[in-house]
Amino acid sequence: MLELHRVSKHYASIPAVDDVSFCARRGEVTGYLGPNGSGKSTTMKMITGLIERTAGHINFNGKPIQDDLIAYKRRLGYVPEEPNLYNHLSALEYLTMVAQLRDLPARESSRRIDGLLRLFALHGDRHASISGYSKGMRQKVLLIAALLHNPDLILLDEPFSGLDVASALVLRSLIQELAARGKVVLFSSHELDTVERVCSRVVILHRGKIVADDSIERLRSLMELPTLEAIFSQLAVEQDSASMAREIADLIDA
């Protein structure tokens, strides 16, 4: 289980994440939602250990992650928000490098990389430079790199970004399958329809603070709203979208 207890991150005294506490359990897909700039990716980076938190604790399976960061990283798979990869490498070279950095056995990792490249339809382009890849292809490389070592904790920050419909459907099922096999999955996305289908429960963040943390069913019944989109709009969207759209059109016309 992944637990965040009163976690905060401040940049020059400006809070990006403020006193956030929630749990992501084994066998569940936890959705982590919020508008742009609400602090989702900052939280994700704190969970990975990429950035230091200003306050609070992060525990995995009851132990603070800082106690043995290396052991924790061995069990962590992460898909970042931006598909930043080493563009001068090919997909095969990049994935082989990740496997070597993770100290995976050469033969086993080679078999897995080959299989995953085939399943993600990248095998034909495995020797091409990543600089020529489309956004969706880069996203697939990130997914393979995150799953290569069979992690226990999977952090997915906008994993559907750039994926085509077929790949997105596969990924949606894959996320559920991984959770069903006992992994802890924390999933951040703006695609509320997908979140509604995939996640067992959601945590909604607004301006760095948690404004909702419950199962989607309970939120629906508590707030008496039919969809996650309606719940999200009520909790985290400050402006009326129709009037804002009218203002934009008026400004262009003027």
Binding site: Y11, A12, T48, G49, L50, I70, K73, R74, L76, Y78, P80, E82, N84, L85, Y86, N87, H88, L89, S90, L92, E93, T96, M97, V98, A99, Q100, L101, R102, D103, L104, A106, G124, D125, R126, H127, A128, S129, G132, Y133, S134, M137, A145
Partner: protein
């Protein structure tokens, strides 16, 4: 006056002005220079170095007026320097004048004509060339005109005009030749093949300019120039064509060298015509080709064999570094700079003493040259490895940092040994192939290997990072002071060590003592590095020193830098 200039500028079409400014800031190949290069700062430093050279030359001519017979020697030197600078500019600004994919995608949908883009790009390149020409020659051009005018104002004015015309013509000739070559290749080759050719041609051009500058003999007397043995050199060297052109314009060219001036005129006309035609055709034809090029080229063929090179982490670091060196233009160019210096030293060493070795003695030139080669190979590689390749992608190294930093440093050590020490040793073996006695050559090789190991440990002292992954503070590369200071110190050390070694090579006892001392030094440094690695952290950002400004307005009042904390790379 400022109003007049402002009004004149306002008459230039706005799209041209906007594009000119953009292209001028990008004229220096950012890929070749640095990932996030500060171009104005770079141009400032570049101009500073050239102004210094120009001033030194002018002061030399002013305080030690050259005799009339030395004029050609100075002119050859001025032309060689100018052509080297223009050559280096053409390498650094390699593709800047041609349309690239980024321009096409960013500007293609805007109502901007291709000719505006072409003119803005040509103007930006011309701006940089003009800066180089003016700064390198402003002082010397003026002083030489006075000195060579020998008191006659008319003669001085004529020399001044001839000198500047020749400098501009020679610069245009070389820059135009590079443009024409690239343009013809872009027109004839498929785009994918052109990109590969372009990368290789850039390095080849770099090596050629450096080799010609360092190795071309300087012929300045009439007798040398008339010697039939030098005819082929004169016929093929643009420096002498433009020397003849300068003297033709100045009215000081003997009739027997008129054919050289003719070559300069013909060469200049051909190059300008070729470059102009190639550029125009490129904008008409290759802009479309660039757009139509597929986003993804399917898996390239070729060899994909990648055997393990030690443990998995060492293998990962070595392959990552090798691929970065081979595939990144920036790193290739910087490494090529160091290796062209190595090549120049090796060739000059080969041409001098080693071509005809004295039996029974190892020449001191060989020892000095090989020390220099080892030093440049190791520290040059270290400098290249300090330049990052893709900072945004480094997150993967942080996420997968599952082993102690010392294991990463061991990988870096292997890289320095493999790509720094080993090639230097190979060059030394080739240079010493014909030298005798072979026992002394072998002893020198062992000493050089130990020296290489010693240098590698020194290079690792403050290198607590994976090669190519740490951000770089451009202010640290103070080329004027650090580079020339290092060259001076290294040369002095190499000469001292070589002369000492030459003495002890004849005495096995002393030689063994020297080897033991060096081995002990390298071993001690290795132990220090191992000890430090236990407490070290891998770092991915160069941290600038914190600056606290104390204004002293009141007791105890202190102003601290605004922004993120000390870990931030941008804090200054």
């Amino acid at each position: 006056m400022p109003n007049l200039i402002a009004r004149l500028i306002a008459r230039i079409p706005l799209p041209f002005r906007v594009l000119y400014r953009q292209f001028l800031l990008r004229v220096v190949d950012l890929e070749a220079l640095s990932i996030q290069a500060d171009v104005p700062r770079f141009l400032g430093q570049f101009a500073g170095v050239l102004i210094m050279i120009s001033c030194l030359r002018a002061l030399g001519a002013l305080f030690f007026p050259p005799p009339p017979g030395m004029a050609w020697e100075l002119e050859v030197s001025a032309l060689s320097n100018m052509l080297l600078v223009v050559g280096l500019i053409s390498v650094v600004t390699w593709d800047a004048t041609f349309p690239d994919r980024r321009d096409v995608l960013a500007l293609g949908h805007l109502p901007v004509r291709p000719r505006t883009i072409l003119l803005a790009k040509v103007s930006a390149s011309a701006g940089l060339l003009a800066l180089a020409m003016a700064t390198l020659n402003w002082a010397s051009g003026f002083v030489w005109a006075v000195v060579f005018g020998q008191g006659s104002i008319l003669r001085s004015l004529r020399f001044f005009a001839a000198f500047w015309f020749t400098i501009v013509a020679a610069s245009l000739f070389l820059y135009g030749a590079v443009l024409a070559l690239q343009g013809i290749a872009a027109l004839l080759l498929p785009r994918k093949m052109f990109l590969r050719f372009s990368a290789i041609a850039q390095l080849a051009a770099f090596a050629l300019f450096m080799a010609v500058y360092f190795l071309e003999p300087s012929l300045s007397s009439r007798a040398q120039l008339l010697d039939p043995a030098n005819h082929a050199l004169l016929a093929s060297s643009p420096v002498y064509w433009f020397l003849a052109l300068l003297n033709q314009l100045n009215g000081t060219l003997p009739a027997e060298f008129m054919w050289l001036a003719q070559r300069a005129w013909i060469g200049l006309a051909m190059v300008l015509l070729g470059a102009g035609t190639a550029l125009v055709l490129c904008y008409v034809r290759t802009m479309k080709k660039t757009v139509e090029e597929p986003d993804l080229v399917p898996g390239a063929g070729g060899l994909h064999w990648a055997p393990r090179l030690g443990g998995s982490l060492r293998t990962a670091i070595l392959y990552f570094s090798l691929r970065s060196l081979v595939r990144s233009r920036q790193h290739r160019v910087v490494l090529a700079f160091y290796w062209s210096v190595v090549l120049a030293i090796a060739l000059s060493c080969f041409r001098s003493e080693i071509a005809e070795p004295t039996p029974g003695a190892i020449p001191s030139g060989y020892l000095i040259s090989t020390f220099l080669i080892m030093t440049i190979a190791v520290f040059g590689l270290r400098n290249v490895c300090a330049l990052p390749i893709s900072l945004n992608a480094n997150w993967v190294l942080r996420i997968t940092q599952l082993r102690q930093p010392e294991k990463y440093f061991a990988g870096t050590r292997s890289l320095f040994l493999l790509l720094g020490v080993l090639p230097a040793l190979l060059v030394t073996v080739v240079l010493g192939w014909r030298l005798n006695p072979w026992q002394q050559v072998a002893a020198h090789l062992v000493l050089l290997f130990l020296l290489g190991c010693f240098f590698v440990e020194i290079a690792l002292l403050k290198f607590q990072k994976v090669p190519f992954t740490c951000s770089y503070l451009p202010g640290k590369a103070n080329v004027q002071i650090v580079f020339w200071g290092a060259v001076f110190v290294i040369s002095l050390l190499s000469i001292t060590v070589a002369l000492y070694e030459q003495k002890v090579l004849h005495d096995p006892g002393h030689d063994a003592g020297m080897l033991a001392a060096l081995a002990a030094g390298a071993g001690t440094l290795w132990l220090i590095n191992q000890h430090r690695a236990q407490y070290a952290e891998l770092y991915f950002e160069e941290v600038a020193p914190e600056i606290i400004l104390t204004l002293g307005l009141s007791t105890g009042m202190r102003y601290e830098p605004i922004g993120p904390g000390p870990k931030s790379a941008g804090t200054t």
